[in-house]
Symmetry: none
Subunit: 274 residues, 4 copies
C-alpha cells in the first residue's frame, strides 16, 4: 500500500489561504516521504484553464525530479461553478462534464491513472430520480473520455457533503448502471464516519472494485488524532490485497492549519501502523 | 436604512446543500419582509455562464413581482477557479476580471447598483507589494466596466479569509490609489470581529465612502445571537446618514442550517433595534 | 539553536504580581538550563531610569556568574507611557525613541546583541500611512544608535496587539524602507497563531534576515501545551541554518501563573523535540 | 449620585488598541449622557510628559464645552515604569510620587477634585512591613501636594491585582496611619468580587470617608451583565447619603471590545436602577 496526500490544504480551495505554488507542495510532500500526490484541480495549483502548455510540462518534470507519483486527480466541487454533475440545469451539467474531461487530460499528461468522480447533489425542487439519472449520464461521458486516456474513474460516496451517492450501496448501484470496466469505487473515512458506517464493510463489499481510499478523521484531522480505526482498516485491505493509494484528504476545511504539520502527522501515524 | 439578505446559504457555495432555486429564495425573502437581496454568483442561482437570456429576463420579472430590490451582487471567491484578482498567474487574474465583468452585467440587468469587490489574496512566494499592485490593476478594469453600467464598486476588507485588504486603512488606501468616483468601501462585522476591530470606527472613518455593509456574528450566526454591538453600529450609521443596505451574510459556512431560520432571526432582531 | 526565556512573567509588566528581583530570575533560568535570557525593560527588573551605575555593573556580574547570556532586550509597550513609536504626538514618539536608546545602552552593557523593535500602533483618527511613516522615522533613529553599539534591531510583527506591522510582508516592507544592514526581522508564534498564519512561511521567506524568534502557544501558554506545530518550525529553521535564540515569551498575561513552571515546561518540551 | 466613566478602554493602557484621542472620548461620553469622566494618565490621553500647555488648555475647553465634569484622575500602574509606591527601589518610589504629583496638577487644572491612589505591591524578597511603610511615606507626600491643590486622595484596595492594600481594613488602617483630612477611601466592585466581599460592607464601614466608587462586574464587564448586586449597593449609598461618582471602570482588559458599547450598556443599566 502506498501513501499519498491530497493538495486541498495547500491550495485556495475551499479556504483561500494558506496557499502554496504546486512545485512547493510537490517538494514538501516528497521530502516528508509520500509515495504519491493527489492533485485537486483548484487555483493556484491545477485549474486547467490557467495552465499553459509550458507550465504543464514543467509540473511533469518537477514531479519526476521529486520522485513523487501522481496518485489521482479531481475537480473542486461546490465553488461558484458548482460542477454538479446531477444539476437540473443542462448548462451546469455540461460544464461539469467538460471540467472532468479537462482534469482527465491533465491527469494522463502528468502520469496518473485515477480520476475521482463526485456524483453531485440534489437541489430543492429536483427529484432524486432525475438527479441520479443526470449524474449517470454525466458519468458515462466522463468514463468514456477517461477510457481513451487509459484512466480509471473512482466514484466516491460523499455523505457528509451531498445527498445523492452517500453509501456503499449507492456507489455499487451506480457502477452497475453505468456498466463500464473502467468505472470503479472508492470511499473516504471522513464520510463513513459521518454516516456511522463501518469502513471495513466497504473494503469487503467492494473488493476488486475498490480503486482508491481517502483517509481523514473527525473535522478532517489527520489519521491517528481522532476516532477512526485505521488498524482494522489496514488489516482488511491486506486481506483483499489492495494495492492502491491511501490518500490523506485532511486539514482543508479551515484556515488555521499548518499544512506541513498535517502532512507529517498523517504520514508518521500511518507509517507507524503499516 | 434597508435590510437585505445574501444568498450563499441558499446556494451550493461553499457547502453543496441545502440549495434552492433562485426564484424560491426571492419569494421567501420577500415574504419574511426584506427590502433587498444580495445575489452571489454561484450555482444554482446566478453563475453567469449557466444563465440563458430567457432565464435572465425571467429572474428580473420574479424580482419585480416579489417587490424585492437587487441590493448588490458578487462573484464566489476561492472555489476551484479562485477568481483571485491578486494572483501571480495572469490567466487567473484575467479570469477573475472577466467574472467580475459578467457579474456586473447581470447586476445592471437585474436593477442593482452595487458590485462587491474582494481584493484577492497572497499565495506563498508572492510579495504583498506585487499582489497589491495586481489587485489594483484588476480593480481599475472592473471599476471602468462597472462605471459604464452605472454601478458602484464596494471594496470589502476580508480579514478572516484573506491577507491583502484586511483593514479599514487597506480599503481607504486602495480607494485612493484607484482614484475613481465609483469605487467605494464596505465592511463586514464578521471580519471586523475577526480582527477585534471596532465596527463604528469604520463608519466614522469611511463616512460618505461607505456604500454597503455586511452583518454577521460569530461563526456567521445571525445578528443578535452573538457578541457584535449592533446598537452602537446603527447609531453611528444614523450619525453619518447612511442610506445603503444592511445585508445579512450568514449561515453559509456549514451544512446544518435552516436558511429560512437564519433569514427570519436576522430580520426580526434588526427590525427590533432599528 | 539556543533557548532563552523572556522576563515579563517574573516582572510587574503587565500584571503587577508575582514579581521577582532580576538576580532571582537570572539564577532560576540558569538553573533550569536556559542558554539565554531576554530582559524586558520593566520594573522591578530593568527600567533604565531606575538603575544606578552600580546596579548595572552588578547585574552584568550576576549574568556572567550564572553563565546566562543576554539574548535580547526590549521596552515595555502600552503601559501608561505608551512608547508608541508611531504616535501622532511628537512628544510621545520622542519618548519612545529615547526609551529604545536607553534600552539599547543597557543591552550593550550587559553583553547583548539584539534589540527588539515594536513598530507601534494607530490611534483612531491617525491614518495608517502617517503612523507607518512615523514608525519608520523612529526606527531609523533607533537603528543608528544600535549600530554604534554593535547591536542588531529585530522588528516584530505584533498582530494580536497592534494594527501596524502585523504580517511577514509588513516587516519585510519596513526593513526594505529603512534599508540599514542592522535592521532584521523576527516573529512570534503567538502572533502568527492570532492571524492564522503558517509559522514556517516566515522562516522560508525571511531566511537570513530572521534574527530572533518568540515562542508561545494559545493564551501565551508554553510550547507543547497548545496547537502550534513546533516540529515543522524546528525543521524549517534547520533548513535555513538559523542560529539565533528561540525565546519563550509566555505566561505574563495573567496573575495566576507560577513563572518557574512556565519556564520549566517550555524548556523541557523544546529540548524533547530539538 | 452621578455617573462617570473611566477612560482606560479608550486608551492604549493596558491593551494598545482600540485607542481614541481624548477629545473624541469626551464627546462620546457626554453624548451617551454621563455626568463625569475619570481620566487615566495614559497615552494617548493624558500622560503628563506628553501634554504641552496649549494641549492642557484645549482639553479643559473641550470638557467645558461638552458639559462633562472631571470626576477624578489616576496614574497607570504596572506598565514598564511600575509606579509602585511601595517599591524597594527608592528611584522607583520617587518616580511614582513624582507621577502622582504631575497627575494631581493635571486634575486640578481640568477642574477635578479627586486623585486616586493605588498603594502599590510587594515584590518577592520585600517584606509586607517594608512595602507598607514605603507606601505610607509615598502617600504622605502625595497627599500634601494634593492638599495644596484642593484635592482629595482616594485610596483604593486592589485585591485582584496587588497584595498590599487589599481589603476594607487595609484602607482604613492606612487612612488612620497617614492621618490627613484629605486622605479618603474608595472601593471597586471588581476587587470586592475577587475577594468574595460584600460591597455594602464597605459602604457602611467607610461612610463619610467613602469618596469614590468603581463599578465593574466579572471580567471587567459592565454592571448588569454579571453577578454583582447593584440594587443593594445603590440602596446602601442612599442610606449614607453618598454624593460622589459611580465610575464605570470596565472593558479595558482585552482588545475585542467596542468601547462605546461598554459605556452605553453600563449607563443604561445604572440609569434603569437609580
Amino acid at each position: 500500500m502506498k501513501l499519498a496526500f491530497n493538495t486541498w490544504v495547500y491550495s485556495s480551495f475551499p479556504v483561500w489561504v494558506p496557499a502554496y505554488p504546486l512545485e512547493e507542495v510537490i517538494r514538501r510532500l516528497a521530502h516528508i516521504g509520500y509515495d504519491g500526490i493527489e492533485i485537486g484541480a483548484a487555483a493556484p495549483h491545477a485549474y486547467p484553464d490557467y495552465l499553459t502548455p509550458t507550465r504543464r510540462t514543467e509540473i511533469r518534470s518537477i514531479l519526476d525530479d521529486a520522485g513523487l507519483a501522481l496518485a489521482s486527480m479531481l475537480p473542486a466541487p461546490g465553488g461558484g461553478a458548482g460542477f454538479n454533475a446531477a444539476s437540473a440545469n443542462p448548462l451546469e451539467r455540461a460544464a461539469a462534464v467538460d471540467q472532468y474531461r479537462k482534469v482527465a487530460d491533465l491527469c494522463a499528461e502528468w502520469g496518473g491513472k485515477t480520476l475521482l468522480y463526485v456524483a453531485g447533489w440534489q437541489v430543492f425542487g429536483t427529484s432524486r430520480r432525475d438527479a441520479w439519472k443526470w449524474s449517470v449520464d454525466s458519468l458515462v461521458d466522463v468514463a468514456e473520455h477517461a477510457d481513451e486516456l487509459g484512466l480509471n474513474v473512482a466514484v466516491e460516496p460523499t455523505s457528509a457533503d451531498s445527498n445523492l451517492v452517500d453509501s456503499c450501496d449507492d456507489v455499487m448501484t451506480m457502477m452497475a448502471e453505468v456498466g463500464r470496466a473502467n468505472v470503479k469505487a472508492m470511499f473516504d473515512t471522513y464520510h463513513t464516519l459521518y454516516r456511522n458506517e463501518v469502513a471495513t464493510d466497504y473494503v469487503y463489499r467492494l473488493k476488486e472494485d475498490l480503486a482508491h481510499i481517502h483517509l481523514a478523521d473527525i473535522d478532517r484531522n489527520p489519521p491517528g488524532s481522532g476516532v477512526v480505526d485505521y488498524v482494522s482498516l489496514i488489516e482488511s485491505l491486506r486481506d483483499i490485497e489492495f494495492d492502491g493509494y491511501l490518500t490523506m484528504e485532511i486539514g482543508f476545511s479551515r484556515r488555521n492549519v499548518e499544512p506541513d504539520d498535517m502532512a507529517r502527522r498523517a504520514y508518521d501515524y500511518m507509517k507507524s501502523i503499516l
